[in-house]
C-alpha cells in the first residue's frame, strides 16, 4: 500500500491547486517583511497566517475527480492523508519561514495545526458535497469570530485554537479518526 501512495504522490501533487496557497504565501511574506522594516510587531500576521494556511491545507482535500476515483481500492481516507501530507508540509514550512522572519517570540505552530485539524474534522463530518468547502472555511470563520466577538465566554471558547492549540489538535484528530470510514 505504501508503494502505491509513493507512486501516487507526484500525480496527486500535480492535481492539487497550488496557486491560492502560493498567492497567500506571497502576501504573508510581504506583510512580515514590511512589518519588520517598519519595526512593528508581526504577531497579528502570524495569527492571520495560521488561519489562512490552515484554510489552504484543508482546501487541498478538494478532489475534482473524486467521483471517478470513488471505487478504487485506495480508500478516500488514504488519498486524503496523502493530500494533507503534500499540502501540509509546505504550509508548515511557510509558517516557520514567516516565524523566523518575525522578531517576536512565537507561540509555535500549534495554532496552525489546531486550525488545520479542526477544518479537516469538519470536512470529514460535513455532508459530502460541500464538505471540503465547509471545512476550509472553518479556520477563517474561527479566526474572524475570535476577532469580532467581545471578550467573554464565547470568545474564549472560539479562541481555544490560540490559547490551547494542542488540546484542540488532539480533539480534532480524534474526530478525524472517528470519522475515517465516512
Amino acid at each position: 500500500m505504501s508503494g502505491v501512495l509513493v507512486q501516487a504522490a507526484l500525480p496527486t501533487a500535480r492535481a492539487v491547486r497550488w496557486r491560492p496557497g502560493l498567492a497567500l504565501t506571497g502576501v504573508l511574506l510581504v506583510a512580515v517583511v514590511l512589518g519588520r522594516a517598519a519595526d512593528r510587531s508581526v504577531d497579528a500576521v502570524l495569527v492571520v497566517a495560521a488561519a489562512g494556511l490552515a484554510a489552504t491545507v484543508v482546501a487541498g482535500l478538494q478532489d475534482p475527480a473524486a467521483d471517478l476515483l470513488a471505487a478504487v481500492p485506495v480508500s478516500v481516507m488514504r488519498r486524503r492523508v496523502l493530500r494533507l501530507a503534500l499540502v501540509g508540509a509546505p504550509a508548515l514550512a511557510t509558517w516557520w519561514l514567516l516565524d523566523s522572519l518575525s522578531t517576536t517570540t512565537s507561540s509555535g505552530p500549534g495554532p496552525l495545526l489546531a486550525l488545520t485539524a479542526t477544518g479537516v474534522a469538519v470536512a470529514v463530518w460535513a455532508p459530502t458535497r460541500r464538505a471540503v468547502l465547509v471545512g476550509a472555511s472553518t479556520p477563517v470563520v474561527l479566526f474572524a469570530l475570535h476577532r469580532v466577538l467581545p471578550t467573554g465566554t464565547a470568545s474564549d471558547v472560539v479562541g481555544r485554537w490560540l490559547t490551547d492549540p494542542w488540546w484542540v489538535l488532539a480533539i480534532a484528530t480524534l474526530l478525524c479518526v472517528a470519522g475515517r470510514r465516512r
Partner: protein, 288 residues
C-alpha cells in the same frame, strides 16, 4: 474476508437492497442475479438508476439488504477492497484533472487500482486509450479535448486493469454515433470475461448491446428480461394512424407525419412492429 454463497456463474447478486435519502426511497427492495454479459438499466429520470449503480460500484452502502459482488460481500472493508481491485466504475458526468493528459489521468487511476509495475501500467493505460479511440490524443491536455473525448478518457479509466465487473452510468453521453459503435466493441470484450452493468436512456443502445434489461421506476425494478422480450411486451399494442387515438397510453408524431400509438389498439388498427422503445414506454406507463 467475507464470501457469500450465490448461484454458480452469478457475478453480481442483490437481495432486498434499499437506499433512502430522508423520506425518499431511491432504491426499494431490489433483487438481482446477474452473470457474465451486459445488463442495461433503463428508467425515467429519478427512477433510482444512479443510486443502484453507486451501490453496485461499492460507492454507496445500502441501508438494508445484502449484496454479493464477484462472490464477495462488500460490507466488509477487506472484501470491498478486493472487489474494487476487480471493478471498473464510470460515474455520471465524471470530472477529470484537466491539466493532465489522458495518459497521465488513466495512469493515475491505474496507480490507485494498485498497479505498481510502472512500465506495464503505462502500456496498459496506452492500450485502453487506444481501445476507446484516443490513441492519437493521449499526450494532449484534457482541457483541450471535446466533451465526448473527455467522456472516453473517463471510460478508459474505468476499463484500466481489465476489470471483471464494469459499472457504467450513462457511458454513451456525449459520444457521436461512430464512438458509440466503438464503445459497443469495447464493452463486448469486457462482457466476454465478466459482467457489465450500464444505465442509459438510449433504448437503441440497449437493443444493440445488452443480453439483459432491467427497467426501473420509483426505485423498483418493474420489469426484467431480454431486449427482444421488452419489445415483445408491446406486440399487438403498437399501431399507426393519421389521427389522435383516445385509447392510446402514449402517442407521438413520427418523421413521415403519421402518429404512432402504444396502448390498446382499436378494431381494424394498422399494427406496427414493436421496438424496445415501445416496450419500454408500455412497461413504465403500466407500472404507474
Amino acid at each position: 474476508m467475507t464470501t457469500t454463497h450465490t448461484v454458480p456463474g452469478t457475478l453480481l447478486a442483490t437481495t432486498g437492497i434499499t437506499k433512502r435519502y430522508g423520506s425518499l426511497t431511491a432504491v426499494d427492495d431490489v433483487d438481482l442475479a446477474v452473470g457474465r454479459g451486459i445488463v442495461g438499466v433503463l428508467g425515467p429520470n429519478g427512477a433510482g438508476k444512479t443510486t443502484l449503480l453507486r451501490i453496485l460500484a461499492t460507492v454507496l452502502a445500502p441501508d438494508r439488504g445484502s449484496l454479493s459482488l464477484l462472490g464477495l460481500d462488500p460490507a466488509s472493508p477487506a472484501a470491498r477492497t478486493e472487489v474494487r481491485r476487480r471493478l471498473g466504475y464510470l460515474p455520471q458526468s465524471p470530472r477529470l484533472y484537466t491539466g493532465f493528459t489522458p495518459l497521465e489521468m488513466v495512469d493515475y487511476v491505474a496507480i490507485l487500482k494498485e498497479h505498481t509495475d510502472t512500465a506495464r501500467r503505462r502500456r496498459e493505460a496506452a492500450s485502453v486509450l487506444e481501445a476507446v479511440g484516443l490513441g492519437d490524443r493521449m499526450h494532449k491536455r484534457i482541457r483541450t479535448l471535446s466533451g465526448g473525448m473527455q467522456q472516453r478518457v473517463a471510460l478508459a479509466a474505468a476499463l484500466v486493469g481489465t476489470p471483471d465487473l464494469l459499472v457504467l452510468d450513462e457511458p454513451a453521453t456525449g459520444l457521436d454515433p461512430e464512438q458509440r459503435i466503438a464503445l459497443r466493441s469495447v464493452l463486448a470484450e469486457t462482457a466476454a470475461r465478466g459482467c457489465v452493468v450500464l444505465s442509459t436512456h438510449n433504448t437503441a443502445e440497449v437493443a444493440a448491446l445488452c443480453q439483459q434489461v432491467l427497467v426501473m421506476d420509483r426505485g423498483r425494478i418493474c420489469w426484467s428480461g431480454t431486449p427482444a422480450e421488452l419489445a415483445g411486451e408491446a406486440e399487438g399494442r403498437v399501431w399507426e394512424s393519421d389521427a389522435e387515438e383516445p385509447t392510446a397510453l402514449r402517442s407521438w408524431l413520427t418523421g413521415p407525419g403519421t402518429r404512432r400509438h402504444v396502448g390498446t389498439p382499436p378494431a381494424g388498427a394498422a399494427l406496427a412492429v414493436p421496438t424496445v422503445d415501445d416496450g419500454y414506454l408500455l412497461v413504465t406507463r403500466l407500472a404507474r
